[in-house]
Assembly symmetry: C2
Homo-oligomer: 237 residues x 2
């Protein structure tokens, strides 16, 4: 077992509207029992904790996914190992960016994090399922449901990626949230938490997996010149 | 054994002058018996064929490297598998770019190639060994020895990388040459060959490995805004 971040698909691919699922959940889970992703057609936000797979959907509902034939266009998973304890007396994105990244010198490496506790406020967005012909992520991003909750107990899970990889995957933090009661979750836009505890794990490698047998993947075009700006517009936290 | 391209270090790192060796040859060869790279301090052009390691140095000499403790800042290797035969009645960079990439639809995938035969003309450059404080690749590129040879029998080995990864590694073709008599080699700048035969191999994944324990790697800064243009100026083929 390697200390690798396994990623299937690329952010560039989603930006270009290549949204069809190209890896099964069964195959994905071979590469990690923790992770995040989205289902076929950009259907919601996937959270994987200890091999349990959840999907926050666009209605604000969280579903347990047990169909191992379900497919994903984009997902990141890892095996928990070499973890270091992370204690966050107070946490929000500013603290993650300014304190945690700098203190632990994350900027040039891929890192997983997972932390748990009571959150005073959590704001998430959920990707709404698309139908063919698929639009690109930039178009979808302007019209995504946002959900908020106060005083919610839950887990933040996700990754930090170096800026250099900010077109291959989401640069900086890419985090999802799932409440302890499995009723609330999504792609983390904003949060405030106190006395959170968890772990981080610095990866030796990024294992970037491609759907090489998928004709649509082989044929898709990207405009590198506009990609960076489009991602900035589409993503943010 | 996975059908992965294993890459240690990044092109961005070299551009920023992070040139010290961070993986041993012994460790590198665990991940592939074929590949290319450069030695500690950007010392020459490494060619690995069937576990035999050669270095073309800045004097135009080719050395066999048997010291498994030698280190490399940047290298790409793979295990030969799933290979497809490649026949090139005539070959040069235009044919590789215009015919081969398009015919086999390589643009979005990582590919290895290896082809052999008599080359009418071969033009190579060789990175000259640097000393600390290391300059960046852009500065070094303006002053690199170039060698040419006619009617030479040898092997071209290297990789095609999608444009999206053109700051992580060299985008497009990155090829090295080694003559059959092991007397001539380097980083391929130009070539003409006829009736060449070889193979190509499409990878499922890029396994991008980082020297995460190296303080210089953890600390180095890149200017993403200028990186693309600097690489263009420094690289070419």
């Amino acid at each position: 077992m390697n200390n690798n971040l396994y990623e299937h698909g690329t952010l560039a691919m989603l930006m270009a509207g290549k949204l069809s699922g190209t890896i099964t959940l069964a195959e994905l889970l071979k590469h990690g029992e923790h992770g995040i992703g989205t289902l076929d057609g950009l259907d919601g936000e996937v959270i994987i904790l200890d091999n349990e797979v959840y999907q926050a959907d666009e209605t604000g509902t969280v579903n347990r996914i047990t169909d191992m034939d379900a497919t994903l266009p984009f997902a990141s998973v890892h095996h928990a190992m070499n973890e270091t304890t992370l204690t966050l007396p107070k946490a929000d994105f500013n603290i993650l960016n300014d304190t945690i990244v700098k203190e632990h010198n994350f900027k040039n490496v891929f890192v997983a994090t997972r932390f748990h506790g009571v959150f005073e406020a959590v704001k998430v967005r959920v990707a709404p399922k698309q139908t063919r012909p698929y639009p690109g992520l930039l178009e979808i991003a302007s019209n995504q449901p946002i959900f908020e909750k106060q005083n919610v107990s839950g887990t933040v899970i996700g990754y930090f990626a170096p800026e250099l990889f900010g077109t291959v995957t989401a640069g900086g933090w890419h985090l999802h949230f799932l409440s302890d009661d499995r009723q609330f979750g999504g792609h983390l836009l904003d949060f405030v938490g106190t006395n959170l505890t968890g772990t981080y794990q610095i990866f030796d490698s990024l294992e970037q997996h491609f759907p090489v047998s998928d004709p649509e993947f082989r044929a898709y075009d990207i405009d590198l010149a506009s990609l960076q700006a489009d991602i900035q517009a589409a993503e943010g936290h």
